[in-house]
Amino acid sequence: MYGDGHPPLEPEELDRYARQMIFPGFGRDGQEKLKASRVLVAGVGGLGSLSSLYLCAAGIGHLTLVDRGRVQLPDLNRQLLYGEKDVGEVKVVAAGKKLQDLNSKIEITPVLREITEETVSEVVDDVQVVVDGTDNFKTRLILNKVCHSKKIPFVYGGIFGLKGSTATIIPGKTPCLECFLTKDEETRLPIPAIGPVVGVIASIQAMEVLKLILQQGDSLAGDLALFDGGRMSFMKVAIKKKEGCRICSV
């Protein structure tokens, strides 16, 4: 440890991350912050498998992957962490192996568990940021609640067909997820999922995580960004705090 108490970079890491370290917003200090950081990816399906790839490649020091599922053939159009040989395999195990192959210098903790009201507090612990890789609002709201109570930033992402949306929720600073969800937002199954759209949203989520850790640039904190791949348009609005929100108004 040196400097700000961040772990020093090894010579191989200086070489490995050279292209992002030459960017002024990152630098050696930023890379050390990434190495010292701990991020939880909740769900390693479409969004989670792609955001975790970028976070792993960028040198996030510790990634926790949480999922209860196994790889299925229809996952492979967008869940690029997995291949045909992984079908039937536990997702967090297959994901952990693939990510460790990509970057052996980071720590990866696979957690085979469903995120529920009962398990969430134990699952979401000792991390700086939680990335939403889930596929339903019920789980997202559970994560939203625990992130608020533990004051952990939560980077929401969602897709439907050619569209996607993302927002960064910072407890105590921005409205929470529950503030802008409407009563009718129930997940319709099966959800149409187009790989590149998942990629766009997961990439934004990963970017948000890096910026939160590095405290660089404007983030989507307090905003909801919507991407429409059919019209190739982006739209961003500031979300309102819901009066009397049972999560963030107390």
Partner: protein
Amino acid sequence: MRIHIKANFFVPGLEEKDSVTVGRSRMTLREFLEELSKMSPTPIEYVKPGAEVLDPDDWEVDINGIPYQHCSQGLGTLLKDGDVLTIKILAMGGG
């Protein structure tokens, strides 16, 4: 004509205001939403060009508490002074 607006986001162009006064006494919902788009300093499209309905994946709109699709004229419903328009932007659920 004054239309009151409730939304789950800050409607671009309205800042903190919760109502809009337009210089016409009659205006359809479609025309009003198109006006709101024009007021916005950043691109925001409520009604897609030529669309007969709002994209149900993007928006939920009520007129005085009634979903606009249940109003007899849909987007062609005439708004009147004092109407309350509720606009909700929707988040995507898949992952």
